[in-house]
Amino acid sequence: MTKVTSIVVGAGLAGLSAAYSLARDSIDVLVVERGDYPGAKNITGGRMYFLPIRSLFPELWDEAPWERHIVREVLTGVSKCSSLSIEFSNQKYNNKPYHSFTILGSRFNKWFAQKVAEKGARVINKYKVDDLILDNGKVKGIVVGGAQIEADVVIAADGTMSQIAEKAGLRGKREPQDFALGVKEVIALSPQTIEGRFRLKADEGIAQLFVGSLTKGMLGAGFLYTNRDCISLGLVLGIKDLTDCHLNVMPYELLEEFKLRPEIVPLINGGESVEYSAHVLSESGIKGMPKLFGDGILVAGDAAGMAMNMGLTVRGMEFAIASGALAAEAVRMAKKQNDFSAGALSKYQDLLKESFVWKDLNTFRHAPDVLANPRLFGEYPQLACTMMEKLMTVGEEPKKKLSTTISKELRSRLALSLLRDSFRFWRM
């Protein structure tokens, strides 16, 4: 039987980050990925916040296949026939080091895997890890393609639907309220068209979030990111609402309706749809995390539930990269002592707790409860749009005073709950 020091299951951001760190420390590592190539199965939004991970692999980032750095953030509330946008731009977002970048999962991971291989790790594609070799609950290696490969430690970086963490007994059943479905389309447009339509210079990009009637009252949101030569457009829909929902509407129909909205049509006009994808995201943050370590095993990235909707920011990529690197660090320490027991590998959790990953997930631990509020996705965007309509429209009747219009809207609608929800959002 073959034996290696470490095996990484999955060549996503978490797995590749772990493998890169291990290979850099000259630790024997084998990455096993089920896709045809690294990136073949990696769906993201996506925007990556750069500053938290900048110091991890400084030698890599200059040549990374970033799509565009974000210089403008737009939040759009939509009702059936109107919309209200808040646009935020910041000169600082145009200074290096950039604050955040858009990426495409397949392009990025293909490049990252190449860097991992150059460092000396072995990356095998087209193989799915079918099982773990278990000995009295201790993980001793993997079963892949009918063969067994022994290892001192296995890092499960196999994404949100991680079966490896399950097989190791580290995670239980997934509940609908803790997950969302993301559906996404990539629409190709020339860089010049993108820059013209979105008022951007070369390499600059925007990130836009949509809430309101586009999800038909379901917990969820729409997103638009500009890439170099295409646009990522998608919806995130809470699985509980999707399951309870008797709207008789399919996720792809909602996506199509989103594409046909007057706010979107002129942005994608003439563009060619080149990909349709879907993937679940964990929405429960720290509460939904599985056990992160066991004898001979560590869990990193989405497999460890390290992704989160924090209201105006969706995060998962930096958590995946950072947790992968910390898992590698724990392996390095375990190897020094030649002790890969759960006790020794628990160092991983300590390292995580000292890092931004744990701190951010902990700070936003109430976010899922605050965001599981249907008013945020239905009534409030509607209220904002109605109020704007009344303020902006001049009809046949004499116009009311601004204060009258606003206070009437607020009184007639949900003033108290708005106040209460704003407070909860503020404290989140």
Binding site: R34, G35, D36, Y37, G39, A40, K41, N42, I43, T44, L104, G105, S106, R107, F108, N109, N125, K126, Y127, K128, V144, G145, T160, M161, Q163, R174, E175, P176, F179, L181, G182, V183, E185, V186, C230, S232, I239, L242, T243, C245, N248, V249, M250, P251, Y252, E253, E256, E257, L260, S273, V274, E275, Y276, S277, A278, H279, V280
Partner: protein
């Protein structure tokens, strides 16, 4: 609601279907199921129902997202990824 032919959307992607389905149903549990949410949560319309109210799976179209497994209230789906090197292969991601 707009009409969408899901086949047109799926035609944008590259699929390498395996011989055997990676998704299996416990039809017994499905027969007793009232919600049948697999029919409307799946972004690839993998699940359909025939006149006899039996659920069918077109596994070749699966986007491997995981939604059906999480959504099914009766744990009727034996969910797996396709065999390595098969299934959908994304170029953008």
């Amino acid at each position: 609601m707009v009409e969408v032919n899901i086949k047109d959307k799926l035609a944008l992607d590259t699929f390498k279907p395996a011989k055997e389905s990676h998704l299996k149903l416990n039809q017994e549990l499905c027969r007793g199921c009232k919600v049948r949410c697999c029919l409307f949560v799946c972004p690839a319309r993998v699940y359909t129902m025939d006149e006899q109210s039996e659920i069918h799976i077109e596994f070749e179209a699966c986007l491997e997202c995981g939604t059906c497994l999480i959504a099914c209230p009766h744990n009727a789906i034996q969910w797996n990824y396709p065999q390595g090197g098969f299934g959908v292969q994304f170029r953008y991601g």
